[in-house]
Each structure stands twice: as structure tokens, then as C-alpha cells.
Symmetry: C2
Subunit: 348 residues, 2 copies
């Protein structure tokens, strides 16, 4: 059995017509007589003819494929984004090539080159934790490759962006802690080269300010890695203070969980002694004990919106001005037991 995909030429030969006639007949071109058209179409479908999309791509210089660079597929939030991307892309007839940077700058650059090289029609990405240099992305823009950032974007680059309103989310989370009566609220911040981390920090500060809380820099600790272990160690530093915090707003859920562990190991109670709110609403957050309050990000919707923007840009003519829209999606605070001092624990 040999791999023998049938082509337009095969059909042409069998029917004694030219390939061009077959091509036109298959796309219902008016120049072809109904009789010929019918014969060709019937033969094509009986032979289960499938146009060679590689040849099409070459002819039209369009691959109908978009590339995605994501820090880590295993992250639930990003999985949701991917699903959103696929949702829109597939229904627009596009394929999706997914690559992971694994939070490595080097791999991000490699993936960018590889995608560019395989002539994808557009690229969507969320930059890695390590990325500080944006030359590889500037190259894309210089080559007129449609580009859309999602979640983690580069402020200075002139491209479409879809972000969640991190500041608003952080603001709400912090406000919630304030309303619950906590008065010494710490923040486990993320790496400050990521815009999202800065925004969350800003939201935290804004909430404190709006409520006439004094800002205490000692209560803001940067967790550069965002890991469980790091957060546990840093939380221990906080708890060692003469006047330790009675609430912690964490930049991410894993760090929040690390903080919870540190708290529990000291025999302190959550949320009575120390309250916790995380960010991202990982899947495990509703399962741990006590269930962790967290700020949800609309991942699926983010994927959808980013893809819509990309499609719009791909559809643009070469002479038209590139669009550089920015869409900001609202976050949502999910309150669970870890921060509920006043009311009864909600059923998660």
C-alpha cells in the first residue's frame, strides 16, 4: 500500500480535461459548463479528493496557521486560554501551533524564530518570566507579522494586547481583606519585570490608599520564582516581625499556598489569625483546606478575544495601518474560607 494522495492532475487525466478546468469546476467557477462541472465534482468526491493545503499555502502565501507561545501549558489558566484560542481559530479555519517557553527566554526566542520560519500567519504570545529583551519580538513587528500579546505583554511594543485588569483584581482582593477587618495586610509580589506583577502591586497600594491605610514597605515582599517553597520561606520572614501581618494578598495561588503552609506550621489559624487571598484561581484552590480565596482570570475569554484581534489583523491588507488595540478583561474575586472572618464559610 503506497501513500498516494490524489491530486487535481489525477482527476484531470481521468476525465481528459486540463487541471485548470478541474480547479475551476471544484470551486464552481461560471466558466465551466454544468455538465463538466458535475462530472468533475462527482469524481472528486468519489475519489475523496482533498486539496493539498501545502500547495495552497505556497500559492497564496498563507498557511492558515497561527502560532502560540505560552510559558507553561500545565498552568490551568493558560490551558483555558488555549481552549479559547482554539475555539475561535478553528471556526475560522485556522490551525494552531502551540509552543511552550517553559519560562525560559532562550526557548521563547527559539520558538519565535521557528514559528516565523514556518510562515505562520500570525503569532500570539505571553512572554516568559525571564524575558527582558524584546528584540525577537521587534523583529516580528518589523517583518509585519501580526502579533497579539495576551496576559503578559510588553508595554513598549506597538502590538495588540489582551490583558486582564490585574490592578482592579488586586484592588478588589485587598479591599475585601480590609472589609473583613484585617488591618495589617502584606503582599507577596511577583517579579517586577512582569507588567502584571506591577499592576497587582499597584492595585494593592491603591486599595490601601483609598481606605486610608498606611503603606508599609516591609509588608511587600517580592517572590521572584513564585514557587511554593520560596513563598513559605518569605512568609516566615513576615511572621517573624514583631508586628506580623494578619492578612496576605499573594500574587499567585501557589505562593499563597506556600504562605498557608508557613502559617499552619506555626499553629496559627486561617483565616482567624491570618487571612489569605491568592490570584489566578488555580484548580486546586477550591480543594485545599481551608479553601483559598482567589482572583479569577477569564482565561477562555482571553483566548477568544486575542484570537479575534489576531484574525482582524491578518485580514488587513498590506497597505493598511496595523491596529494596536488593547482589550482589558475584568477579573472576579472568588471568596472562600481563607479570607472569611466575618461570615460563615461559603460552600466552595
Amino acid at each position: 500500500m503506497k501513500k498516494t494522495n490524489i491530486t487535481i492532475k489525477d482527476i484531470a487525466r481521468k476525465l481528459g480535461v486540463s487541471p485548470s478546468t478541474v480547479s475551476r469546476a471544484l470551486k464552481d467557477h461560471p466558466d465551466i459548463s454544468p455538465q463538466t462541472k458535475k462530472e468533475i465534482q462527482e469524481l472528486a468526491s468519489s475519489l475523496n479528493y482533498q486539496p493539498n493545503s501545502v500547495a495552497l499555502s505556497l500559492r497564496q502565501s498563507k498557511t492558515h496557521t497561527i502560532g502560540v507561545i505560552i510559558p507553561e501549558i500545565a498552568h490551568f489558566f493558560f490551558s483555558a486560554v488555549i481552549s479559547g484560542i482554539e475555539d475561535i481559530a478553528h471556526s475560522a479555519g485556522y490551525h494552531v501551533i502551540i509552543t511552550q517557553s517553559n519560562e525560559s527566554f532562550e526557548r521563547e526566542v527559539m520558538n519565535t524564530k521557528a514559528l516565523f520560519n514556518s510562515r505562520v500567519d500570525g503569532i500570539m504570545l505571553s512572554i516568559s518570566r525571564e524575558t527582558n529583551n524584546y528584540q525577537h519580538l521587534q523583529n516580528l513587528l518589523d517583518n509585519n507579522v501580526p502579533l497579539v500579546f495576551f496576559d503578559r505583554m510588553v508595554e513598549s511594543l506597538n502590538a495588540c494586547k489582551v490583558i486582564v485588569n490585574d490592578e482592579q483584581g488586586a484592588y478588589e482582593a485587598t479591599t475585601h481583606l480590609i472589609e473583613q477587618g484585617y488591618y495589617r495586610i502584606a503582599h507577596l509580589a511577583g517579579p517586577q519585570n512582569l507588567g502584571i506583577s506591577k499592576n497587582r502591586l499597584n492595585g494593592y497600594k491603591a486599595a490601601l490608599a483609598d481606605n486610608k491605610y498606611m503603606m508599609d514597605d516591609n509588608l511587600v515582599k517580592v517572590c521572584g520564582l513564585g514557587t511554593y517553597e520560596e513563598a513559605e520561606a518569605i512568609t516566615n520572614e513576615l511572621l517573624d516581625y514583631r508586628f506580623p501581618p494578619d492578612a496576605i494578598f499573594s500574587n499567585n495561588d501557589v505562593a499563597a499556598y506556600g504562605a498557608m503552609t508557613a502559617i499552619k506550621k506555626r499553629g496559627l489559624r486561617i483565616p482567624e489569625d491570618v487571612a489569605i487571598v491568592g490570584f489566578s484561581n488555580w484548580r486546586f484552590s477550591s480543594l485545599i483546606q481551608p479553601a483559598l480565596s482567589s482572583v479569577t482570570q477569564p482565561g477562555f475569554k482571553m483566548g477568544q478575544e486575542a484570537t479575534r484581534l489576531l484574525m482582524k489583523q491578518i485580514a488587513l491588507g498590506d497597505d493598511e495601518e496595523a491596529i494596536t488595540e488593547t482589550i482589558s478583561l475584568k477579573t472576579n474575586l472568588v471568596v472562600r474560607e481563607s479570607s472569611l472572618k466575618k461570615k460563615k464559610p461559603a460552600v466552595s
Copy 2:
């Protein structure tokens, strides 16, 4: 600024040579004089020439792309598999197109067709929960498309398979419960159209038999959906028995967690009153309380092995016999608090 990828022709024109000379010079063909070769290579690199991979694909009828169909990216195990796939594929110069079936038969068929249509060099897949009809896969085989199953495979199809030794994993999990002194061990089984579910059930049965435990069909309950809620309800049925189980081995971790909830709601203790062991070692399993014992599947390695098999098959000539190797990977039982009656809880 126009998108203007430079081609071999551009280089040829600028240097007053023919495209064929450029092509040969760039790949160090001996027919080209060192002088010409040098000029061409220098111009190419100064222009940052990148060969058009679409044209290459057309010429060589090879896209250097493999397609992956996965039930759900968000599942941690599958994320790990994807990482393993990318690891091998990228270092072999292959791209990876990932698609999700979302456990839907219809989408699985659609994805299969789409991948076939875009002329990927091979396909790797894990069938969806719904899939009972394998015609779409048989079509692939009939068209000589290299195919590798991973995790969830179709026994009857003549293709490469990489599976985890589910039976061994289930056997070990059950044996562990027996060794801990539990004597009425229930099993929350998965949908029996999936081979993996059947194998896990068999492992459970084998362990009971080898230890002279009587098999009680009432203690085996099928959880078709594998959801938290379903498992909770079914566990309640088990606990309603006059002689309820004192241990549960679950086909998957989410169901195990549902069971834990049912048990806790009745005021029963884990593992003193009822022990639990899950399957798949989801990320949350080490985080919940008590930490859930679970059988780990080597996802990353599975992705690697499956990709190696696929590469091997792609490299095969058209006349050579297709290989149909099956690789079985060992699972590993991670013992945590949820099943440790005898010893002190291990640090997870």
C-alpha cells in the same frame, strides 16, 4: 513597510547567478566554486535569508510537522505528555500541532481530518472518552499515515502504542491498601470502553485474588463521568451499605477527591475509617488534606517515547513494513496520608 521575505531568486538576481547555483551554494554542494559559494553565503546571511519551509514541504512532500490529538490540555498528565512530545519533536526539527477533542467523539473526528488534510507527517493521539467507532483512525492507517497511540489506545488497531502499565499500577495500589490492613476495599472504576479503565479494574481484581481476598461485585462501581460530584454520590451509596468499605481505590484523582468529600461529610476519618488511593497524581493531590495517595503516570516520558516511535515510523520507507511496537511504562505509587494507617504520615 511591506512583508517581503527574501528568496533564493532574490539572491540569485543580486549576484547575477541562477537560483540553482544559490541553492547548491547554500548547502555546500561540491559543484560550486569556493569563491561563488562564499559570496552567496555571505549575502544570504547578511540578508538573513530563511528558506521558505512551505515550498520545501511541497517539494519534499514532508511538512516536518506532527499532529497531536489530546482529550484535554488542562489535565496535568496530558500537559506533561505534551512537554515530552515537544522535547523530542523539537530536537528532531519537527513542529507540533496540538488539538483538543474535549472528550468529544465528533471533535476527535474533525481534528483527525483537519490534521490529515494539512498533511502532517504523523499523528499521535489519545482517544476521547466518547470514542467507540474507529473508522476515522482506520482511514489514517489505510492512507499510511504514521500513527501512535498514547495512554488511551485502541486495542484492535494495528498501530504503535505507548501505554502505562495501568494494571500494575492498580495492582500495587490495591496491594498497598491490603498491606495497610484494610479488608473491604472498593473500587471506583472508569468507563469500561476505555482500555485503561478495564486494566485498572483488572489490576485491582488481581491484587485481591493474589491475597486471597474475596471479590465482591458490590464494591466495584463505575463512575462513567469521572467527576467530583458523581464520585461523591456513588461513594455515598457505598457508605450506605450495612458493611461499607474501609478503603477505596479510585480510577482517578478527581473521583477520589469526591469520595473523600463524601467520607468527611459523614464525620468519618481518613485514613483511620476509610482509606483512599487515587490514580494519576494530579497536582492538587499533594495539596489537599489529607494528602492523597496516588499512582503516578510518567507523562513526560510517555510523550517522549511516543514521539520516538513516531519518528521511527516516519523515517521508514514506503515499501518497508510499518512497525507496531507497544511500549508499556511503569507506574509508581506515591503513598501519602490518605492511605497510611500504620506508619506516620510521610512528608509530601
